[in-house]
Symmetry: C2
Subunit: 432 residues, 2 copies
C-alpha cells in the first residue's frame, strides 16, 4: 500500500475512533497486552535478527542496548499498557458549558486530534507506548521507527494493530512507515495527517518543520541550565548539579551549562569540580571560571551545545538577571533550575525564564512524563503552543464546540430589536 493510502485509511479510521467508548478502547488495550505476551517468542526472534544485523554493521553499543527487546522489556511495556488502561477516559470531557440563550447551549468537549504521525528513535518500546497512547486518546497513528529495528517494529505493529481491530478498533487505525521516502511522502499529506511529532535532534526537527505545512510538535534539543545563586546552599547545589549532569547524561533533560553567581563562585566551584570529576565529567569554563578552577576554555559554541555526554560548560555570572538573560538567549526552552534560599529570587527566575519547565531547588532530570505523574509521554515538547514540556495523553487531544439549539437563528440577535444573549455558565456535562 502507498503512504497516501495508508494515511487516507488512518484518517477514515480516526473519524470512527473519535466516538469510541472508554470500554472499547480499554478492552483493545488489554487485548494488545495479551497479544504481546502470547507472541513474545516471535517478537524476540525478530528482534534478535535486527540485533544480529547491527552487530554485523559494528553499530555503537548504546544503540544496540536501546534496540534490544527481550522478555523483561515486553513485561515493561505491558505494565505500561496496564497503567494506561487505569487512566481516566480523556475523550468527551466537557471543558466548558454555557447557555447562550434559553434553549441554545454551547459545550466545549475534548476530542482526539485525528491522525498523528510520529517519527521516533530505535527503541521498539517507543512504538508500543506511542501507539497505545494514540489508541487511548482516540487518534489514528502513523509510526516511523529507526531502520535498525525494522523487523521488530513490523512484528510489533502487526500484533498491536490486529489485536485492536479484533477488539473493535477500525481497520487501518495504525500505519507503519519504514523508509525515509515514506517520511518525505507523509510530510506532504496535510489532508490526512493532523500533527507530526518528530523525536530527535534540533536539526532533525527543523528539517521536518521546513518540509511540511502540517503542524509539528517538536521534541528538540534540551540545553538545560542550573543557576547557582549567591544565596544557594552549596551542598544542595553540588548535589543538584551532579544529579542533573550525571544521573543519565544522554537525554534531553540533562544539564549542559552551569551558571554560578560570582559571589559564591570562589567557594562553590572547587567543590562542584571535585564532585563532577569523581563522576568523570569534563568541564569547559569561561574566563572567570578558569581563574578559580583548572578547566578547558569554553567558547561561544559551548553555550549553544547539547553535549548529551559527560561534558559540562560553566559560566560565572554577576547577577540573577545575567543568568536569566543567558538562559533566554542560549537555552532551548526545555528545563532550567535555580538553586537558592531566597524565595523572591526563585519567583523572579521562574517568572522570567521562558522555558517549558522551570525548577526551584531540584534536579532538571525530574522533567519527565512519568515523574510528573502524566502516566506516559509521547515526547517532550519544546514548542510554545498546544503542549509544552512532557506531553502525555492531554497533548493528543483538542476540543470541539458542540451547540444545541431549537431552531435559533442569528437574525433574532441582530438589528434594532435584537434579543440579548444570556451567557450563563452551565454546571452540566454535554449529553445528547
Amino acid at each position: 500500500m502507498s503512504i497516501t493510502e495508508i494515511s487516507k485509511n488512518a484518517k477514515a479510521a480516526s473519524i470512527l475512533m473519535a466516538p469510541l467508548s472508554g470500554d472499547v478502547k480499554n478492552t483493545a488495550l488489554a487485548a494488545i497486552a495479551d497479544a504481546l505476551k502470547a507472541n513474545s517468542a516471535k517478537i524476540i526472534a525478530e528482534n534478535e535478527l535486527d540485533l544480529a544485523d547491527t552487530k554485523k554493521d559494528n553499530t555503537a553499543t548504546p544503540l544496540v542496548k536501546r534496540l534490544k527487546f527481550d522478555q523483561s522489556k515486553i513485561a515493561d511495556v505491558c505494565a505500561g499498557i496496564e497503567s494506561l488502561i487505569n487512566l481516566e477516559e480523556p475523550v468527551g470531557k466537557t471543558l466548558e458549558a454555557r447557555e447562550l440563550d434559553k434553549g441554545l447551549e454551547l459545550y466545549k468537549v475534548s476530542c482526539p486530534i485525528g491522525v498523528i504521525g510520529v517519527i521516533f528513535e530505535s527503541r521498539p518500546d517507543a512504538l508500543v507506548q506511542i501507539s497505545t497512547l494514540c489508541l487511548k486518546s482516540g487518534n489514528g497513528v502513523l509510526l516511523k521507527g529507526g531502520s535498525e529495528a525494522k523487523r521488530t517494529n513490523r512484528v510489533l505493529a502487526n500484533i498491536i494493530s490486529e489485536a485492536a481491530v479484533k477488539a473493535g478498533l477500525p481497520q487501518g487505525w495504525l500505519g507503519l512507515l519504514e523508509t525515509r521516502d515514506d517520511v518525505a511522502a507523509m510530510l506532504k499529506l496535510n489532508k490526512y495527517i493532523d500533527l507530526i511529532v518528530p523525536r530527535g535532534s534540533n536539526e532533525f526537527v527543523q528539517h521536518i518543520m521546513k518540509n511540511t505545512t502540517i503542524p509539528v510538535m517538536g521534541h528538540a534539543d534540551g540545553i538545560c541550565h542550573v543557576y547557582v545563586d549567591s544565596e544557594a546552599d552549596a551542598d544542595m547545589a553540588v548535589n543538584i548539579t551532579v544529579d542533573s549532569k550525571t544521573q543519565y547524561c544522554a537525554v534531553c533533560n540533562a544539564l549542559e551549562t552551569l551558571l554560578v553567581h560570582s559571589d559564591i563562585a570562589q567557594t562553590f566551584l572547587p567543590k562542584v569540580k571535585d564532585a563532577l570529576q569523581a563522576k568523570g565529567v569534563e568541564i569547559y569554563g569561561c574566563e572567570k571560571t578558569a581563574a578559580i578552577i583548572d578547566v578547558k576554555a569554553a567558547t561561544e559554541e559551548d553555550w549553544k551545545t547539547e553535549y548529551l555526554d559527560l561534558t559540562l560548560s560553566i559560566k560565572v555570572v554577576g547577577s540573577i538577571d545575567e543568568a536569566i538573560d543567558h538562559i533566554n538567549k542560549y537555552g532551548s526552552g526545555h528545563t532550567d533550575c535555580i538553586v537558592t534560599n531566597d524565595t523572591a529570587k526563585a519567583a523572579k527566575f521562574m517568572d522570567l525564564v521562558d522555558s517549558g519547565d522551570v525548577f526551584f531547588n531540584c534536579s532538571t532530570r525530574f522533567s519527565d512524563g512519568f515523574r510528573y505523574g502524566l502516566g506516559a509521554e509521547v515526547g517532550v515538547s519544546t514548542n510554545k503552543i498546544h503542549a509544552r514540556g512532557p506531553v502525555g495523553l492531554e497533548g493528543l487531544l483538542i476540543y470541539k464546540w458542540r451547540m444545541i439549539g431549537g431552531g435559533h437563528i442569528v437574525s433574532d440577535y441582530a438589528g434594532a430589536d435584537a434579543k440579548a444573549f444570556t451567557h450563563t455558565e452551565l454546571n452540566k456535562e454535554y449529553k445528547l
Copy 2:
C-alpha cells in the same frame, strides 16, 4: 527600525510582560481607551486620508465600508476594551498541582505564548481588538494590517503602544509592520516570534504555512454545511438555511452548501428555494436537486467553493452517512449543522463530523467569539491543535511547568532502593 529589531524588541518586552499583574494590564487597557477617545479627531483625520486614497483607486465599496473608522467605531472599540478589562485575569492560573514526593511540588500554570504575529484585513478595529487581546494575555504583538488602512493603522498603533508604555508596559511590546516585505521578513524570525495568526483566504494561509517554520494558527476558509435530515422540521430548516446563508454572507461562518435528505427533498426544496430567492440567493444544485427545483447545475468545484456571496450549492443525499462523508471530504472543518428532530441522529452527526464547531438545530452564523461569550476573538481557527473555532484570550495562552523542591535529586528515585513518587493531587494554587 528593521523587522528583525522590531521583533527582537517585542521578544524582550514579552519576557517582562509575562509576570505583569492584572492591575497593571487593566490600567494600561483603560489608558488605551482614554487615549483613543482623546485622539479621535486625529484618528478620523488620518482615516479620511486613507479613505480618499481608496476612492481615487476605485476600490470596491465593501472594502471602503470596512476601512471607515469614525466616532461610532471608536466608541465600539472602546466598549470592547471595557469588556476586556472586566474579563478574569487569564495569566497565572494553576491548571494542575501535584505533589511528586514530600516537599517536591509540581504546578502547571498558564502563561503567555510570547510574541504573536497577526496579519489581518483592512478593518482598523481589528488592530485595536488584536493588540488589546495580546496585552491582556501578556503577549508581545506584531501587527500587519491592510495597506489601504496604513495611515489609520499607524496612528492607532502609536496611540495604543504609547498609552500602554506610559501605564507600565515595556517599550517595544507592540510592533507595526507595513509592507509585504515586512511580512516575508517576519516569517523567517522563528527565534523571536512564537505564533503567526494569518487571517484571510485558504490560499493565503497555505502560503504563510509554506514559508515559515513558526507555528501558524490559520483562520482559513469556512465551507460550512447545513444538513437537513429526513426527520427535520421543514420550517425550522428553512429558517436556519436562510439565516445561515443570508444574515451576513461575506463571512467564514456563512452557509455554502446545503445537504438535503432525499426523503424530505420533494417537499423541502421548493419551500427553501422560495425563501432563498426572496433574499436574492442564486442556487447551484446537483442532478437530483435539479429534478425537483429549477436551478443551475452544480459541478464538483461547487462543493469546494467558499462563495462569500449570495450563492448556495445544494446536494440531495441518500443518508446521514452520505452527508457526514460529504462534509468530511469537502468541508473546511469550520462549522456544520444538522437540522433534525431525531436526537440520536444529531448525536451521530456531531460525533462524526470532524469540524471545530458542530451544531444541532441552530444557524451556522452563531459560530463567533462574541456570541460564544468568549469576550473577544483574535480569529477563528481551522487548525486541529492548540485552539479550534473562535479563539479568544485562551488561545493566546500556554502553560509552564513550575517545580518547587528542597534539593531533590533523581538518583534517589532510581535503582535498587528507589524512593517511590507519591503523585498526590494538591488542592492549591501556585504561589512563591
